[in-house]
């Protein structure tokens, strides 16, 4: 909401300077977003008289002028066709900065003739579009004076942000009222002229009372439209509204001035009564913005017998608006239901100043006065004879009172404000106060004390106020939030307790473990493209209104985001990508916390020790997965290795780690080459995903650990090599051997895999190191032989043959 300081002062009688007013506005909740004084950038431009104008010796279209801007004659070369001796215009001397292009004026030679500045056009000073010639001022304009001062441009434009609850401050008067309450002046009385209408009011009626409960109107016949008076045009221009014609400008002016949107129809265009009714499917309106809108029966329109002339409360129609030739007008002052306006505006994707006010809820008690003020302005500025008013329908003016105890200010806001001060504040904002003393009475014979309270009546323009906390808010914002004393929250005695949840702790440990292992944490969008989602089996959720097709499906996997990020890094020249992310995957029934990583490019660059660059392998992925699972607190030693990773992975070089056959805790491996290719990645890419929500939470029974004493005797290591089928998974052999003697075998480690000379076709040799832990006495040879025999037997069950 923009207005100028002088405009504000038409409502507020104040001595406060600009900076005090600006600070006051922000303090009471009308946040100043900007303040601009056009005079500032025009300070170097003065009113000047052209003394002489002679043809340029070298150029037909140029003239050589002598110009007096108060300091004596200066020679200026000028190309404007209207430059002539005697013209009074605006001159920028050497050193002035031309607003439109930022050019600094310098003494220069134009086609060999010295020029000492510039006579300016309106466009060059950013005061309009006129560039046909230089500014041609009133001959009485005082030569030498700063132009902006003389033209009244030294009026600061203030831009405040109005919160959605404050419709009353969508008009300059409302802002003035708030400032007056805050002690920054007094609010001038509003003058509502009496209109002596001649003849009956126009034929208007309401057929859609839900959407437009009240439609007040008058006609004025015999008007002459034209240019608005200078004061009105200047204020509108200052806030960025283009003056159009007096009749249109009056409605815009009152909307800004009083927050009261109005509409003016050309009476000659209307056919039959003007009706506020529901739209009919398929009806079209060419609106004032030049676009055609199709309305439907959820919207309220203003229509006559022939056509729809207005999208009620949002935007008028092009054909029935006031024209230069208009001689009779119908002035509409209506109340549109905020909810309806909001819905219609959203549906049509149409915003306007009127919508902004109606959807917040204009003052329902101001229809008559608004119509009178508008009619009076039309008559004063355009002449004509007004009719009586027609009042169709009833605006929803409801007496709204709030029971208030002034001590509630202290109990909610924590600041004490005296009753008298509270009363003054509320009254200056337009609230009425009726005080009730404390009473003592008997109800059914029981003594009942009712403490003193106020009945506060809410002004009709404060639709937002409907409870006592609103009144506290009013008092506190006017008193100033800086008056609220900072009050420490009560603190539980002792050292602060731990507050993180189990999930949070798990995520922290996984995150910092991954970072410690060399991975960098990325945060990728939760949404991916349909194509990316399809490449990993599709997502359950799609946005109905995505911001772009690339950000449409809620990710069922973190891989696409990481792969896209990897690609961007490779494109930027990264030779090795180590990225991870912690976040959610989105499914129809739940959101799953997940940690995921991608390793792409070179694992190790070429090096003087290692030779050629080394690629990642599936086991790099496995190593990360196991480390991160351990960090998350998963029982890594008890996990089973399975195949059956998702289709995102190379079918022969991927796997899953499970707790029992069904609970998959992680999958990992070499990325499927076609998926890597889809994301533009070359070479071996490996990846893994850890399903954090599947990891059982560790039960914590205090801090005490299980008792431990190191074994008294040294462990014994024995090596075995078994020839097995090529297809046998190593993990099966290791598990079988570990199970061969659970008491003595404490560890089984596979240290060699060999196939080739000496091992039959389609077989391989697996070498394992078994660690045997004796109990209270050393193993005897017989015991060792028995354990070895059971190991060999366990391997034989899997088709393994001890290698000789």
């Amino acid at each position: 909401m923009k207005f100028t300081l002088s405009w504000l002062k038409t409502h507020l009688n104040t001595d406060a300077d600009l900076s005090t007013i600006l600070k006051g506005l922000t303090n009471i909740g009308l946040e100043v977003e900007g303040v601009e004084s056009p005079a500032e950038k025009l300070g170097a431009f003065r009113i000047a008289r052209v003394l002489t104008a002679d043809p340029h010796p070298q150029a037909d279209k140029l003239q050589v002028l002598t110009v007096d801007a108060g300091d004596g004659p200066l020679q200026v070369v000028c190309g404007a066709p209207n430059a002539r001796a005697g013209l009074i215009g605006v001159f920028g001397a050497e050193g002035a900065v031309v607003p439109v292009n930022g050019m600094v004026l310098k003494k220069t030679a134009i086609r060999g003739v010295e020029s000492n500045g510039m006579m300016c056009s309106f466009r060059e000073l950013e005061l309009g579009e006129d560039h046909d010639g230089i500014i041609d001022l009133d001959p009485q304009a005082p030569v030498g004076q700063v132009y902006a001062q003389w033209a009244g441009l030294d009026d600061p434009v203030i831009d405040v942000s109005i919160t959605p609850n404050r419709q009353d401050c969508m008009g300059v008067r409302g802002i003035a009222r708030d400032l007056a309450a805050a002690g920054l002046g007094t609010l001038n009385a509003i003058i509502v002229p009496e209109i002596n209408g001649a003849g009956p009011g126009p034929d208007v009626r309401v057929d859609d009372a839900d959407g437009c409960p009240a439609f007040f109107a008058r006609t004025v016949k015999g008007v002459t439209n034209g240019q608005s008076p200078e004061w009105m045009a200047r204020r509108l221009k200052a806030i960025g509204q283009k003056p159009i014609s007096t009749l249109v400008d009056i409605t815009n002016y009152l909307m800004i001035d009083l927050g009261r949107p109005l509409h003016v129809y050309d009476l000659d265009v209307l056919k039959g009564p003007l009706v506020a009714r529901k739209g009919r499917a398929g009806e079209e309106v060419l609106a004032l913005n030049g676009k055609t809108y199709t309305v439907d029966d959820t919207m309220t329109v203003i229509a006559d017998d022939a056509a729809v002339h207005d999208i009620g409360g949002i935007m008028g129609g092009e054909h029935s608006g006031a024209q230069d030739s208009t001689t009779g007008v119908l002035i509409e002052c209506a109340y549109f239901t905020p909810e309806r306006i909001a819905m219609t505006g959203q549906k049509l994707a149409l915003t306007s100043d009127a919508r902004g006010r109606f959807e917040r809820g204009v003052d329902p008690a101001f229809l008559d006065d608004g119509l009178s003020i508008a009619t009076d302005l039309v008559v004063k500025l355009c002449g004509g004879t007004p009719s009586e008013a027609t009042r169709a329908g009833e605006p929803p003016v409801a007496a709204n009172t709030v029971r208030y105890d002034p001590s509630q200010c202290l109990s909610l806001a924590g600041v004490y404000v005296g009753d008298d001060e509270q009363k003054r504040i509320l009254q200056s904002l337009g609230f009425g106060i009726e005080e009730h003393d404390a009473t003592f009475d008997y109800q059914d014979g029981v003594p009942v004390t009712t403490p003193a309270y106020w009945t506060v009546s809410v002004p009709s323009w404060r639709r937002d106020v409907d409870g006592w906390p609103d009144l506290v808010e009013e008092v506190v914002r006017i008193v100033g939030l800086d008056q609220v004393p900072s009050t420490p929250l009560p603190r539980t005695p002792g050292v602060a307790k731990a507050t993180a949840t189990v999930e949070q702790l798990m995520e922290r440990r996984v995150r910092r473990t991954a970072a410690a292992r060399g991975l960098s944490e990325a945060i990728n969008w939760s949404f991916i493209s349909e194509k990316e989602a399809a490449s990993i089996g599709g997502g359950d959720w799609a946005l109905a209104n995505p911001i772009s097709e690339d950000l449409k499906v809620m990710r069922p996997s973190l891989l696409p985001g990481l792969l896209s990020a990897s690609r961007r890094n490779v494109d930027r020249g990264a030779s090795s990508v180590w990225l991870f992310e912690l976040g959610r995957r989105y499914f129809a029934d739940r959101e799953r916390a997940t940690a995921s990583f991608v390793l792409a490019g070179e694992k190790l660059p070429r090096g003087w020790q290692t030779g050629k660059a080394q690629a990642f392998t599936a086991f790099d992925a496995k190593s990360e997965v196991v480390a991160l699972l351990a960090a998350a607190g998963a029982p890594v030693g008890n996990l089973q290795s399975f195949g059956e990773a998702s289709a995102a992975y190379h079918p022969g070089q991927s796997g899953t780690l499970r707790l029992g056959p069904k609970t998959v805790l992680a999958e990992f491996g070499v990325l499927h080459p076609s998926l890597a290719k889809q994301f533009g990645l070359t070479g071996t890419v490996v990846a893994g995903e850890i399903f954090l929500d599947a990891i059982p939470a560790k039960r914590r029974n205090g801090f005490m650990r299980a008792p431990y004493a190191p074994p008294a005797l040294q462990a014994v290591k024995r090596d075995f090599a078994f020839v097995v089928d090529e297809a046998l998974e190593a993990d099966a052999l290791v598990r079988a051997v570990r199970g061969a003697d659970k008491k003595s075998i404490v560890d089984v480690r596979l240290f060699d895999v060999f196939a080739g000379p000496g091992v039959e076709e389609s077989k391989k040799s697996l070498a394992i190191e078994v660690t045997l832990q004796p109990g209270d006495k050393s193993f005897s040879q017989e015991e060792l032989d028995a354990i070895s025999a059971s190991i060999v037997k366990a391997a034989e069950k899997l088709g393994g043959v001890l290698r000789g």
């Binding site: 909740g29 946040e31 806001a413 420490p488 602060a496 731990a498 999930e503 990325a522 946005l543 190790l604």
Partner: protein
């Protein structure tokens, strides 16, 4: 000079002159070996009469000890020389580069969330979470934003596709629905923070369609705006680790709080950077909006099944990404979500930079 003295002098001179371990060994065998000269002399002592032995024994013993000592000394010297020579031959170029290992990092958003959790833990706030795909009741209605509320349209909400007739779910536009879930599931008194991803269909230089918020909620008896003010001051001072933090509280409007307060923090323009701290009204200063907050609206408390005459409290919300930018000096929000390793390493944090109160929350 006696014969033995001559022998001793000769042997010791020979030993000192031996220049290899092999030559030394030959000398040892020649002197101390089975048939060595010294061994031979020692053997003569056995058959002697005690008187003779008393006279001739000591010089021979002295000879043996002296030769043995000379052999040991020379051997040690030769071995040391051999080792020195070997090591000299093993010299390598220690300026060759060593593999630095990959360098990982923690994202600034995660780091700042950990910092906030640490600060608020000290103030007694625990951490709560909720779904990001949220129903409209929790995201809007319960927060006093009925369907036609203008604020609802201003939220730039992402809607999820729904079957015909079903109310579409939304991507939560703020972390405030976690307030609702907490109040409905937990008996007051309540002190929580709720960090997480939130979504608005907005994208330009300073807005991304996804960003991070942290929500705070206190519900208790006798909580006032004064407590809110103290909490925000205390938290921001702790977060920026500066005592000169100045807040400017501005009345504002949020449907779910009343009174509603927006909070600006003062900064000073230092070398073109906005450095948080100081009075924003001072010359060279300014204000940055960092928080939205207020006293929880009675309707919200009621919607959660609590009695607003009994329970009262405050809520606040702030952008985690923005806090990170203000503290650590990034100036482009979009880079947070780009996954550029160069950026992540520059602005990210070491795994060991765990925020603690004793070590300072900032890193």
């Amino acid at each position: 000079m006696s014969e033995i003295a001559n022998l001793k002098a000769g042997l010791i001179a020979d030993i000192a002159a031996a220049d290899t371990l092999e030559a030394l060994e030959a000398l040892r065998v020649g002197a101390m070996g089975k048939n060595g000269v010294v061994t031979g002399l020692l053997k003569t002592l056995g058959p002697m009469s005690p008187e003779d032995r008393l006279e001739k024994g000591p010089p021979i013993q002295d000879l043996r000890e002296s030769v043995a000592a000379a052999l040991a000394t020379r051997k040690a010297a030769l071995e040391q020389a051999a080792l020195d020579a070997q090591l000299a031959a093993e010299k390598i170029d220690m300026t060759l580069p060593a593999d630095p290992g990959p360098q990982g990092s923690v994202h600034p958003v995660s780091q700042v969330m950990d910092e906030l959790a640490e600060i608020f833990a000290d103030l007694g706030f625990s951490v709560a979470t909720g779904p990001e795909i949220e129903d409209q009741w929790h995201n809007f209605t319960a927060l006093n934003m009925p369907e036609t509320h203008p604020a609802r349209a201003m939220h730039d909400t992402f809607y999820l596709s729904a079957e015909d007739g079903a109310e579409p779910k939304v991507l939560r536009t703020h972390t405030s629905p976690v307030q609702i879930r907490t109040m409905m599931n937990q008996e007051p008194p309540i002190r929580i923070i709720a960090p997480g991803r939130v979504y608005r269909s907005d994208s330009d230089a300073t807005h991304t369609p996804m960003f991070h918020q942290i929500e705070g909620l206190v519900i208790d008896k006798g909580i006032t705006l004064g407590h809110l003010k103290w909490t925000l001051e205390t938290f921001l001072k702790a977060f920026f680790e500066r005592d000169d933090i100045v807040l400017r509280l501005r009345p504002s409007y949020f449907p779910f709080t009343e009174p509603s307060v927006e909070v600006d923090v003062g900064y000073m323009l230092t070398n073109g950077q906005r450095v948080i701290g100081g009075d924003g009204d001072a010359p060279g200063g300014g204000w940055l909006e960092v928080l939205g907050s207020g006293m929880v609206n009675r309707r919200v408390i009621e919607a959660c099944g609590l009695d607003p005459d009994e329970w009262q409290g405050f809520a606040f919300g702030t952008g985690v990404d923005r806090l990170a930018m203000l503290k650590y000096g990034m100036n482009d929000l979009r880079a947070f979500f780009d996954g550029d390793l160069r950026w992540l390493r520059h602005y990210g944090f070491s795994a060991l930079d765990v925020p603690t109160l004793s070590g300072g929350v900032g890193a």
